[in-house]
């Protein structure tokens, strides 16, 4: 995949996070699993960037690399003008504070042997954000109220809470260190629908109040559309399409995005009855041996010969709407032209 960029619409809001050709490979015996295989994108301050894709597409790995839970295998992450990979010591610690994460499973991500107050204040202690015990406690109480819990919850343990309340604790912990950027990895997927809406509304409110920037990772396309300003669609470790959230849903360009949208069953029986579906055949291929050319070609209803031979370029097809697909340009013709130019 060639250089991806969103420079087409620069100049409005400053870019907070820039990812260039980011890669993360995991070794499996002699082979390597290419979980993230060269993604590039920019996230602006104050926006919500949604990352969608099916399990195994690399969306969570990408999020984890961003908050440095994993070391990247290649590429770079520039946060607010600073290269995250180069940051050491004190600088790295400051970055850790600014970049926080909310996890999918609120059960597994909270230490069962710590009180909620200590869980929330752990970051405060590490980063010395409270001068004394009283300030620390005040902070915990304020955070609990911010996320819709109450002061007395500070002395309880995670198992005493419901799923939705635990996710609120996860949000409070992330907020405790005054972050600027939050990676939310499937934050509502483990919750019931009625509780999902509570957490989504909470995240939206906090974003307004604290000018937070979100990377919102989810497999649920409806939720992603609702919360995101822009959305990127991943398939087998690469981005296949990126656009404003409305545009992506109204006018999907890549056949994978089209199939993904058509696969979501809508809570409207009449609409469901009338809908024509493109049901994709087969499964996602192994990320250890991804297909040549375009990775989606083995399941693509519109695959052509060229798709197996040439990796499609990442191009801006419409203003602010990017995709990597051979349907939108003639790769062979361009190759011939450039060969003719070098020969001539």
């Amino acid at each position: 995949m060639t250089e991806q960029s969103t420079n087409g619409q620069a100049g409005e809001t400053p870019v907070l996070l820039e990812i260039k050709d980011l890669k993360k490979y995991f070794r499996i015996g002699r082979e390597s699993l290419k979980a993230v295989d060269g993604i590039s994108l920019e996230i602006k301050r104050g926006e919500t960037f949604g990352l969608v894709g099916e399990s195994g597409c690399g969306k969570s790995t990408a999020g984890r690399v961003l908050v440095r839970l994993y070391e990247p295998s290649g590429g770079s992450i520039i946060y607010d003008g600073q290269d995250v990979g180069e940051a050491k010591g004190e600088a790295a610690k400051i970055l850790n504070r600014k970049l926080q994460m909310i996890f999918q499973d609120p059960q597994a991500s909270l230490n069962p042997r710590m009180t909620v107050g200590d869980i929330i204040a752990e970051g405060v202690d590490i980063h010395h954000l409270a001068a004394d015990k009283k300030e620390r406690l005040d902070k915990v109480h304020e955070l609990l109220k911010t996320v819709g819990l109450s002061e007395e919850h500070a002395n309880r343990y995670p198992h005493e809470f419901s799923g939705g309340q635990r996710q609120r604790i996860g949000v409070a912990r992330a907020l405790a260190v005054d972050p600027e950027f939050i990676v939310a990895d499937e934050p509502v997927s483990a919750l019931d629908v009625s509780i999902q809406a509570q957490v989504i509304n909470l995240m939206k409110r906090l974003q307004r109040e604290k000018n937070l920037t979100y990377l919102f990772i989810s497999h649920d396309l409806s939720v992603v559309k609702y919360i995101s300003d822009r959305v990127g669609v991943m398939y087998l470790g690469v981005l296949v399409e990126m656009a404003d959230s409305e545009k992506l849903y109204d006018d999907p360009l890549h056949p994978y995005t089209q199939a993904l949208l058509s696969a979501v069953p809508l809570p409207d029986p009449d609409l469901e009855n009338e809908r024509e579906r493109t049901v994709l055949q087969g499964d996602v291929p192994s990320p250890v041996f991804p297909p040549s050319g375009c990775r989606f070609r083995t399941r693509c209803p519109e695959a052509m010969e060229v798709c197996a031979e040439i990796v499609p370029d990442w191009r801006e097809i419409k203003p602010g709407h990017f995709t990597a697909c051979h349907l939108y340009y003639d790769a062979r013709a361009e190759q011939r032209e450039s060969q003719a130019a070098t020969a001539g």
Partner: protein
């Protein structure tokens, strides 16, 4: 039993004894399954939908399950009263079930073909060779390519979607009259979910069994169900045809469910309307309507007494005091009910 019904569940009450006390999972659930229909039972986690379904198969753990009352009528028998031996002749050949996680429903040490043949040999008395042929046919029917080679493979050699197809093939092996699917697509990705839902619709047309689909996903309900029963805190609080439930819901909990899902067509600036609070504790369920504490329309009577069902059409019933003659007139939120 009504002639159109293949199964009737009447006032079912199931509890579990735990260290903390008696968990009242199902508290008076009534529904029936018509011949050839797909009935969706929707509800959130803890609403009792899976426990109710497992009771039909008598799969709840013997050690701590307490049947507090009710009956499950199938072929003039009360399934709750049958001996385990007779139950074994129903479970599988007559009523079959598919679970959420296909990996835990399959035996990892056994070839897939043998797992399908097990039922064929035991219940239909097929010979080894005939059963192998039938296993290949079944895998083929559920859309597994290269079925002849696949019967000889182990579950780990299949992907999640393919495993769920194998489980469905096992469930359908003896042409059951009732097919219960408990969250069959929840563990799967959307594109795979679409494949499985298509398969289920297609199979129902071909085989004509009656299906109970248990799910929390209203999109799935809208795309496959004929009728819907909405469960909350161990009770069916509203039931009706799929169009009635989605377009003319009558119970505030159903309103809340419908209003809290973000639709792809929704306006992003509009806030989702969550249902405040969380479901009641099954250890100590409230005496009145279980939704009272979270209901913005709740009245005094709601906390005191469970409302009776009000009938709105041949199929549509809801348990809510708002439909009592003396109750104030309340309109559902604007987002729902308005379609078409």
């Amino acid at each position: 039993m009504n002639g159109d019904n293949v199964l009737e569940v009447r006032d079912l009450r199931i509890s579990f004894s735990t260290y903390a006390g008696e968990v009242q999972a199902v508290r008076g659930t009534t529904f029936e399954l018509r011949r050839g229909e797909t009935l969706a039972i929707v509800g959130e986690s803890g609403s009792g939908k899976s426990v109710a379904a497992r009771s039909i198969m008598r799969l709840n753990p013997d050690a701590n399950t307490i049947v507090r009352g009710g009956e499950i009528l199938f072929e003039d028998n009360d399934l709750l009263k049958l001996s385990e031996k007779r139950m074994q002749r129903i479970r599988g050949p007559k009523i079959a079930m598919v679970f959420q996680d296909p990996m835990t429903s399959l035996d990892p040490t056994m070839r897939v073909g043998r797992q399908i043949m097990e039922a064929l040999k035991k219940h239909l008395g097929m010979s080894g060779r005939r059963a192998t042929e039938r296993a290949v046919e079944l895998l083929d029917m559920v859309g597994i390519p290269n079925a002849e080679a696949r019967v000889r493979q182990y579950p780990h050699q299949f992907s999640g979607g393919m495993r769920q197809r194998v489980v469905i093939a096992i469930a359908l092996a003896c042409d059951p009259q009732i097919f219960i699917a408990d969250e069959p697509t929840t563990a799967l990705d959307v594109t795979i979910q679409a494949q499985i839902l298509e398969l289920l619709r297609d199979l129902q047309e071909r085989i004509g069994s009656s299906v109970i689909l248990i799910t929390h996903d209203l999109g799935v309900v809208a795309s496959v169900a004929d009728r819907v029963a909405v469960m909350y805190s161990g009770k069916v609080i509203e039931t009706g045809t799929v169009r009635e439930i989605f377009y003319q819901p009558k119970m505030p909990y159903t309103w809340g469910l419908l209003a809290s899902i973000p639709l792809p067509t929704a306006d992003r600036s509009q806030e989702l309307i969550p249902i405040p609070g969380s479901p009641p504790d099954a250890l100590d369920p409230p005496k009145g309507c279980p939704f009272t504490a979270r209901c913005q329309y709740a009245m005094k009577v709601c906390a005191e007494e469970m409302p009776a069902y009000t009938r709105f059409s041949a199929e549509h019933e809801a348990a809510c005091w708002l439909h009592h003659d003396m109750a104030p007139n309340v309109e559902p939120p604007a987002q729902i009910g308005g379609h078409r």
